[in-house]
């Protein structure tokens, strides 16, 4: 018995990429980072982190004595201190955009983490355990997929009530299905690989096989999916906030800023609509490009996703 264990352990060390393999692969392309997406994303992240220091005004209070609907600084009738204009309460649009970046990025990242966590866990359980566990998980996935994600999110947000953390959980609960599907498929083929088989023969528990051998080998796919999910989640948050079931006012979110600006669109107050939308577009564009880059580096099989 000991002999078998000895041999399988050696074979295992040679065959399983494991955590060390994952680390090697990550280090290998750290030297060739994508310039364009990072050039867009890094400033947004810095602005979001240091919003308190950067923003010229309080994002939720009107500028004392300022006119409402003042245009940006280059237009006639501008307020020189409110560089990108003011909104319907005389609040500084620039400061609201800056704090809005924080909301968008937190919801985008955390929503993706929640979705990825739920989906990856369920995908691994379904793929590795198989049988009725697989059946139950995949039927739930199918049912969840039957509803358009946004409609489902609107329904949940209406029932749960608006707050940033509720939105994160809701978007996580809506967008996990794709992870479950993809990861399950990968685990099904991993389960047939030698290093997993050997590890099972050597008597490793299911938990150990999953944590040591399955999880590190599906993390790349999960990362690729995550890079694709972030943009979707950011747009979904903006959509919910636009409809008034997302991040509640007076908290500045890009989606609710668009909703605030909508009524003034008819008289041509374009800055209330154009700036928040441009912010959403740039961030999502950057995450998409980052996702494409990751996909090519990490997993050529996922190129057609």
């Amino acid at each position: 018995m000991a002999y078998v264990t000895e041999q399988t352990r050696a074979a295992l060390a040679a065959a399983s990429p494991g955590w060390a393999g994952l680390r090697r692969r990550w280090l290998r392309f750290a030297g060739q980072l994508p310039v364009v997406p990072l050039a867009i994303l890094v400033p947004f992240v810095l602005v979001a982190v240091f919003a308190n220091a950067i923003a010229p005004f309080d994002p939720t209070d009107p500028i004392p004595g300022a006119k409402i609907f003042a245009p940006p600084f280059w237009a006639e009738g501008a307020n020189p201190t409110a560089r990108l204009g003011t909104d319907f309460q005389g609040r500084d649009v620039l400061s609201r955009l800056i704090f809005g970046a924080r909301v968008s990025l937190i919801v985008g990242v955390m929503g993706t983490v929640v979705a990825g966590g739920i989906g990856t866990t369920l995908g691994i359980l379904a793929g590795y355990l198989g049988g009725w566990v697989d059946q139950v998980i995949m039927r739930i996935t199918d049912a969840w997929l039957a509803l358009p994600a946004l409609v489902f999110a609107i329904f949940l947000a209406t029932m749960v009530g608006p707050s940033m953390w509720n939105i994160i959980v809701i978007l996580g609960a809506v967008y996990w299905t794709r992870y479950a599907r993809v990861i399950r498929g990968e685990v099904l083929s991993l389960r047939e690989r030698e290093f997993v088989k050997l590890s099972e023969i050597a008597g490793a528990s299911s938990a150990r096989v999953i944590l040591r051998h399955v999880l590190p080998n599906v993390l790349n796919s999960a990362m690729v999916l995550a890079s694709l999910t972030i943009g979707v989640v950011i747009i979904a948050e903006a959509s919910l906030s636009f409809l008034g079931v997302g991040v509640p006012p007076p908290e500045p979110a890009w989606g609710s800023m668009l909703a605030d600006g909508r009524s003034m669109l008819m008289v041509g107050d374009w800055w209330l609509t154009v700036f928040p939308g441009l912010c959403i577009m740039m961030v999502v564009l950057a995450t998409q490009l980052l996702g494409d880059w990751l996909r090519i580096r990490l997993d050529p099989q996922l190129r057609n996703l």
């Binding site: 946004l150 209406t158 029932m159």
Partner: protein, 306 residues
């Protein structure tokens, strides 16, 4: 074939069962539904009366069975605000949503399919790169923001198109573009990858070896087969567009299903929200089942593998 249909139908029923159970549980886990039904600050006796009236005083399994029975007999409850059955409201709005969704599908075809085709035929050319940029912006630019910007440019500044409402093709064009935008990008990507795959296949090589002109190979032999997955996606997209065009319909004041859902949210009309969501789920499950069965009918391999 019969076995395939039976199995798929059972799956669809299970899906609907889980879906209805999810909706049922969400409503009861996120708070007392009575508070959604009553005026704020209602007396305890009033709450009890409403609870009895809606059957909310019974046990959860009994409540669920009633709910499921109602759903399967087509009774999705009654909207407070309209004082009408939800399914009646849903089917009243359906033609409007269908009109918008068909127009959006047409636009996504006009952009997505030719661009995807050219990208695939001229891989890595300027055309392909233009296609990639379109696909990227299709995903990164939210359709509802595109709609707002179009209103600004074409209605407010240029005065060419009406800002909202329904009636003529001028009313239809902006919401259709805003809604079809995202789907154009996804059709573009699928057309490109599907076309590339077909172009690599043996029978295309044979057609080329026979000496057929390039455009005949592409138009007659390759495109026809590459179109199959594209049309399937378009079918699924159409159903999604009918049910999920919430923001676009709100922005353009389009009297469709999405706007009905929005009205339900704002008037705290929770039977309406629940009913519209359930109806959307049913419609999508039924359409998916139909597509699955049609596929199996056309392609016998599917019957055997699944």
């Amino acid at each position: 074939m019969a076995r395939f249909i039976i199995r798929r139908t059972l799956y669809a029923l299970v899906t609907l069962l889980i879906l209805s159970l999810t909706i049922f549980m969400v409503i009861r886990l996120t708070g007392d539904p009575v508070t959604l039904l009553a005026e704020p600050g209602a007396h305890a006796e009033d709450l009890d009366r409403i609870r009895a009236e809606w059957g909310l005083d019974r046990s959860w399994p009994v409540q669920y069975l009633t709910f499921a029975k109602n759903v399967f007999t087509g009774d999705l409850g009654k909207s407070f605000n309209y004082d009408m059955p939800v399914s009646t409201l849903y089917f009243q709005r359906l033609p409007n949503s269908l009109e918008l969704a068909l127009a959006a599908t047409l636009i996504s075809f006009l952009i997505g399919i030719p661009a995807g085709l050219i990208s695939a035929v001229k891989v890595n050319s300027v055309w392909d790169n233009t296609g990639k940029v379109i696909a990227l912006f299709g995903l990164a630019v939210p359709g509802f923001w595109l709609g707002l910007v179009m209103i600004l440019v074409f209605s407010v500044w240029l005065g060419w198109l009406p800002t909202s409402g329904q009636g003529s093709w001028q009313h239809l064009i902006m919401p259709a573009v805003a809604l079809g935008w995202y789907f154009a990008a996804s059709l573009l990507r699928l057309t490109r990858s599907s076309m590339l795959e077909v172009l690599r296949s043996e029978y295309i090589k044979l057609a080329r070896l026979k000496g057929l002109p390039g455009y005949v190979v592409i138009a007659v032999h390759a495109f026809k087969n590459a179109l199959i997955p594209v049309l399937t996606l378009a079918g699924v997209n159409l159903v999604v567009m009918i049910n999920a065009a919430v923001i676009i319909e709100v922005i353009f004041a389009w009297p469709g299903i999405g706007r009905l859902l929005y009205e339900g949210i704002f008037q705290r009309d929770f039977p309406l929200v629940q009913g519209v969501v359930m109806e959307a789920g049913i419609m999508i499950v039924v359409i998916n089942l139909t597509i699955d069965i049609l596929y199996a009918y056309i392609d016998p391999r599917i019957r055997l593998t699944r």
